[in-house]
């Protein structure tokens, strides 16, 4: 913890919260992450390193949701066809709906280069890269999807819709069309309709996550470009860029459609009016940053051991609570993401990491900690966006309004102070305040 206290900037008296410094910083328009140049460099670098694999994730997720759909043995679902590599991102390129990134709408050139050469740095057929696991670790994206699916109670209107009769009818139409000339699968569908329906719901969540990341990738690319030009004066600037981005895209429709032999079947039509903010952003942050699921090998799944909470709301295994040191351990999907990010680190971060801890040897852990900082920043952006959307501006003259803001911030930070299951010890918000946490 830093020694200097952050004084409150509003007219309210100082907060009594254990993380009072952070509360005051949020009330002043800042982030949960302290505003230092090192922090800014770390988070922007990781945004860029995250965005390149994310470019692959969203394309492949949409491919899986739209084309692979209910394939029983999807051995090639990670072999992204050219059509999806060329799929134009709606938020980049000249013909964007709302242009976040100045760059191109098709797949990022660094991604294409990695896909052709891999870590081995040789051009061998894609199948060998895939079998050697020298590829983008799509398993992480699917794990995020599964987390969102498992915690689907965080959804707004989409969640009850997935249980509705209308959804069931849409799904039924699509399933029948998909397995049209396949009597075995159709027979199985008659026997176990709920199974296929649940698989269809999982496919819907895949589409939701793909649509979510379709936005985040160009946003992160743009942030990296702005930083390279010197456009960000500090961490709050970067956070505010994200907040504006969240608002700009809040109304983006969330839908799920499946392409069956050239014909598009709407399972969740755009006309239902589901929005990006409520159906993708908030559930994603909650399911992936806060909750996810306990990683095998790190927690005992034994019910008598009482290590895994009975209430889903108490899950605390997301990036904000993560212990970054066990890297490469089997069963911890975020380490797959770290492996991906390792390939796309900007040079200034590679040089920076060489100076600390074990230099090149533990770059994976160092970038993992930087990534944690960057996700604290994203969470702060979401918290500030929530405040702007549902509560009052930071410079509101009415003290009642400011108090409501403070209650909101304190309520958010209370999630890091819960002593149940040692959540307060697991939360890393205290550690990211210290620059020496690497």
């Amino acid at each position: 913890m830093t020694a200097t206290l952050v004084p409150p900037t509003t007219q309210l008296p100082p907060s009594n919260h254990p993380y009072a410094d952070v509360i005051h910083r949020l009330e002043a328009g800042g982030s949960m992450l302290p505003d230092t140049p090192e922090n800014l460099m770390q988070i922007i670098g990781l945004y860029k390193a995250y965005a390149v694999p994310m470019d692959f994730y969203w394309r492949d997720l949409l491919y899986i949701a739209e084309q692979v759909f209910l394939e029983p043995l999807p051995a090639f679902k990670y072999f992204l066809p050219q059509e999806y590599l060329d799929l134009r991102n709606h938020y980049a390129g000249d013909d964007a709906d709302w242009r976040f990134w100045r760059g191109e709408a098709t797949a990022h050139p660094e991604l294409l280069e990695f896909m052709s050469k891999g870590e081995l740095n040789t051009k061998i057929p894609k199948l060998f890269h895939h079998l050697y696991h020298d590829r983008i670790n799509m398993e992480f994206a699917e794990e995020c999807m599964r987390a969102m699916f498992w915690h689907r109670n965080m959804g707004g209107e989409l969640e009850p819709y997935m249980d509705s009769e209308e959804y069931r009818q849409n799904a039924d139409r699509a399933i029948r069309a998909y397995f049209k000339n396949n009597p075995i699968m159709l027979g199985l569908y008659k026997l176990f309709p709920e199974l296929f329906l649940e698989q269809c719901r999982q496919s819907t969540m895949t589409s939701v996550l793909g649509l979510f990341w379709e936005i985040m990738a160009p946003v992160f690319f743009e942030m990296s470009d702005v930083y390279d030009e010197g456009g960000f004066k500090g961490v709050p600037d970067a956070m505010n860029f994200l907040v504006s981005g969240i608002f700009a895209i809040a109304g983006r429709p969330i839908y799920h459609r499946v392409n069956i032999r050239g014909e598009w079947f709407e399972i969740v039509p755009k006309s239902k009016g589901f929005t990006w903010l409520y159906e993708a952003a908030f559930p994603y942050v909650e399911a992936v940053f806060y909750r996810t699921s306990p990683f095998r090998g790190t927690k005992s799944y034994n019910a008598q051991a009482n290590e895994v909470p009975k209430d889903q709301n108490d899950f605390h295994y997301g990036i904000l609570y993560a212990d970054k040191f066990p890297v490469g351990s089997a069963g911890i999907p975020p380490t797959l993401l770290h492996q991906d990010m390792y390939h796309f680190l900007p040079q200034y971060l590679v040089d920076y990491y060489k100076q600390f801890c074990r230099g090149e040897d533990d770059t994976l852990i160092q970038l993992g900690v930087s990534f944690q900082r960057s996700m604290y920043n994203v969470t702060s952006a979401v918290i500030q966006a929530g405040r702007a959307a549902f509560l009052y501006p930071l410079d509101d003259p009415n003290p009642k309004h400011l108090l409501a803001n403070r209650h909101y911030f304190e309520g958010q930070l209370n999630r890091f102070c819960n002593p149940k299951y040692e959540m307060d010890k697991a939360a890393r918000i205290g550690m990211v305040q210290d620059q020496n946490y690497r």
Binding site: D323, K324, F325, P326, V327, R428
Partner: protein
């Protein structure tokens, strides 16, 4: 050849004192390597088919008191001499970074200790043995007191007192033995003493005196109280030497002088000694289980494992004696490995407390190779097949079970308990998660890994090819066992007050 083994380190040590500080390490490495090469040559030259002393050298020195410079090597001393050479070489070449200052003094003292131990193991004259035995004492006291933990001066003094008392007892025993068999000069020549015989009561008295002396050195419970403090407070290379080879002086003396010289008295006392050994194993294991400091845990493990050798000596069958010698070598290798690794952990992590250590197997931020070797070392100590510990312990149990089943069962239980405390150690230290707030440990370099890798390699090799461990000692142990059997038979047949025609009433 044997004199070279003793005097080369001494001359080398003197030469190093003349070198400047920066060159002293090079000089020491040259001397230690030369000694190691001599050891290999000795192994080559040794004829495994002979039971008697080989490559003997005999120089009359102080004839009137019977102290002659006579050296010889047989199947009992050869493995230990080789072990001595190996450990000294490893310590001198690789363990410098645990010694922060006064390297030259350290190299000199280490070489002197080596010379003393070699001399003691190679001498076939009991007074010469005592001379070299005492010679080891002062350099060892200095080495413990100068480099080590906070309580090292206390530990060194305790060590000095205990070992001095042990030396006095041994000296008294040998002097008495010499005068009682005097002809008319006291006899201190080992081969001669082997052929003589004394009244049983006299034998028992002398045996008890010598046994006490060697029990303090080895040490065996309850004379062990100097060991935990000394081992814990010493620096890593010191304790590798202490536990690895210097402690073996006690067990070597046990085999050579107690079993070898007093077979009938030994046979009489053997059942009690066997039970003593069994209880010692259990004691060492149980105290080790309760330790919170990993170095102290390994130290108590050492006490437990030494008692296997006592058990083997008590049974005095050929198989158990081979097992005992094997256990001396095995224990030396495993203990050196364990203390080295514990030393690395203490240096890199900064603590030895079991409650604080956690997660060292972490591949990027932990000490993965060190932890992996620690697991192997723990397995070796617990007697897992495939490693040298199993060979030694199995031979001991096989050899002692027919004679003393109950103590053997105690010892087998002790082996099981060894697994218990090693699992505790490994579970806490290696597995689990690193503490995010403190786990910023420096890397262990390749050179720092090397001694551990060499020791592990040997442990695995000897575990898989045990013939290389036991083939040196087979003939010698058969001879000792035969003597014990024949003397037992003789003493049973004739009446107890058998006197030698050589002793004038």
């Amino acid at each position: 050849m044997l004199s070279a083994l003793i005097w080369l380190p001494v001359i080398g040590a003197l030469a190093i004192t003349l070198l400047p500080q920066s060159q002293s390490k090079k000089g020491a490495i040259i001397v230690a390597s030369a000694i190691l090469i001599l050891d290999v040559l000795l192994l080559k030259q040794f004829d495994t088919n002979l039971a008697a002393f080989q490559l003997s050298e005999n120089l009359p020195w102080l004839e009137n008191i019977g102290l002659n410079y006579s050296l010889g090597v047989d199947g009992l001393s050869l493995p230990l001499v080789a072990l001595n050479g190996l450990l000294t070489w490893l310590i001198i070449c690789f363990c410098e970074n645990q010694i922060k200052e006064r390297f030259k003094l350290f190299q000199v003292l280490m070489l002197l200790i080596h010379a003393g131990v070699s001399g003691a193991m190679l001498s076939t004259n009991t007074l010469l043995f005592v001379l070299f035995y005492e010679l080891v004492l002062i350099p060892l006291y200095l080495i413990i007191a100068v480099w080590g933990g906070l309580q090292r001066s206390y530990a060194a003094m305790k060590f000095l007192i205990f070992t001095a008392v042990s030396g006095i007892l041994i000296l008294a025993g040998f002097l008495a033995l010499g005068w009682l068999t005097a002809n008319p000069t006291p006899i201190f020549d080992y081969s001669t003493l082997q052929t003589l015989s004394l009244p049983l009561e006299v034998q028992i008295t002398l045996l008890v005196v010598l046994l006490l002396g060697f029990s303090i050195k080895a040490p065996f419970v309850p004379f062990h109280s100097w060991l935990p403090d000394t081992y814990v407070e010493s620096a890593t290379p010191t304790v590798m030497m202490l536990g690895g080879i210097v402690a073996k002086l006690g067990t070597y003396g046990l085999f050579r002088f107690c079993v070898g010289l007093f077979p009938d008295a030994w046979a009489l006392l053997a059942p009690y000694i066997a039970i003593w050994a069994g209880l010692g194993v259990l004691y060492g294991a149980m105290v080790a289980i309760s330790q919170k400091d990993i170095k102290r845990m390994v130290a108590y493990s050492s006490i437990g494992h030494m008692s296997y050798i006592l058990l083997a000596a008590a049974a005095a069958t050929p198989l158990s004696l081979i097992g005992g010698i094997g256990q001396m070598v095995s224990h030396g290798l495993v203990l050196a490995l364990l203390f080295y690794l514990v030393g690395v952990i203490e240096e890199k992590v900064g603590t030895r407390d079991l409650d604080l250590l956690n997660g060292l197997l972490n591949p990027l931020r932990g000490l993965p190779t060190t932890s992996a070797l620690l697991i192997l070392g723990g397995m070796a100590s617990a007697g897992i097949p495939g490693l040298v510990g199993f060979i030694a312990e199995f031979l001991v149990f096989q050899g002692t079970f027919t004679k003393f089943p109950i103590p053997t069962i105690f010892s087998i239980i002790g082996t099981g308990l060894t697994a218990v405390y090693f699992v505790i150690l490994l579970n806490r230290t290696c597995f689990g998660k690193l503490d995010n707030a403190t786990a910023y440990y420096p890397k262990v370099s390749g050179l720092e890994q090397l001694p551990a890798l060499i020791l592990t390699g040997l442990i695995i090799f000897l575990g898989v090819q045990p013939v290389w461990l036991v083939k040196w000692s087979e003939k010698a142990t058969v001879k000792i066992a035969e003597q014990s059997e024949s003397k037992l038979l003789v003493s049973q047949v004739l009446n107890e007050s058998l006197t030698s025609p050589l002793i004038k009433n």
